[in-house]
Symmetry: C2
Subunit: 152 residues, 2 copies
């Protein structure tokens, strides 16, 4: 399990990051975008687009898929959330703006996701790509298994 004393703090930090990044880039951190970011950050587990849609529906009127996907796309574009391809789901970015590449430890038992970024791994990937004369544009690395708590 992710060790966060007060999860409210995770959420408020994420929102603050959202505000900062949008300010820096002159983008609008609209109500919908903010709300979707909050919902993604409800937990450290991957959030599915249609689950977000349902939660949104309980507060706002009758949102439709494009509403959620647009907000998620915006958040993805600006590094505030990540998409987990192996799960078709989204997690909040733990430290937006700070890294180029990161990867994910996804616990298949408690479902919690840990975001990691090591230079080592990034380098190893770079070397390997180079050996194949391949120019890397983006990397998707997802590790499924058991987290510390769940494998203990």
């Amino acid at each position: 399990m992710i060790h966060c004393e007060k999860h409210n703090h995770c959420i408020s930090t994420a929102i603050k990051h959202g505000e900062e990044i949008c300010n820096e880039k002159g983008l609008k951190f609209t109500a919908i975008r903010r709300k979707v970011l909050e919902l993604v950050w409800e937990s450290h587990k991957p959030a599915k687009a249609y689950d977000i849609l349902e939660k949104l529906a309980k507060e706002d009127g009758a949102p439709v898929p494009p509403t959620v996907y647009r907000a998620l796309d915006f958040l993805l574009q600006n590094g505030l959330v990540h998409r987990l391809n192996s799960l078709n789901a989204f997690v909040g970015c733990s430290h937006p703006g700070l890294h180029k590449q990161c990867y994910f430890l996804i616990c298949t038992h408690c479902e919690e996701v840990t975001e990691c970024c090591t230079n080592q791994l990034g380098k190893a990937i770079g070397v390997s790509a180079k050996e194949n004369s391949f120019t890397t544009e983006s990397v998707s690395l997802e590790i499924l298994g058991s987290c510390k708590t769940c494998s203990a």
Copy 2:
């Protein structure tokens, strides 16, 4: 682009691998499974399930999604194909049975996919997981970018 002199050779090798692996494991390499494997191997580009379905339809009667997905699941289970999570697509495995972990260089221009496996990278991932007390069950690593030909 993948350098294969005669692509027929890739296909026939893949089918031979299918036969061998099924023999070893006492599994049935049925007509559908064989056909789907051939279709996945039509090229070195990722094959989409519904494209396979269409091609299948031109030969057989009126196949339906479960037919294709069952065959793909079987081939996945037995290491004959891989799923590319970032594309919702499938590629043939270049050397079934020979590796535990592999990763993919996916060219976003010509769409061709190169399957790689380096111990180095596998080790780096292992180390990183260990640092997080994480027990790895499976790894999905997909690198999007430009292959040699396309970036030249």
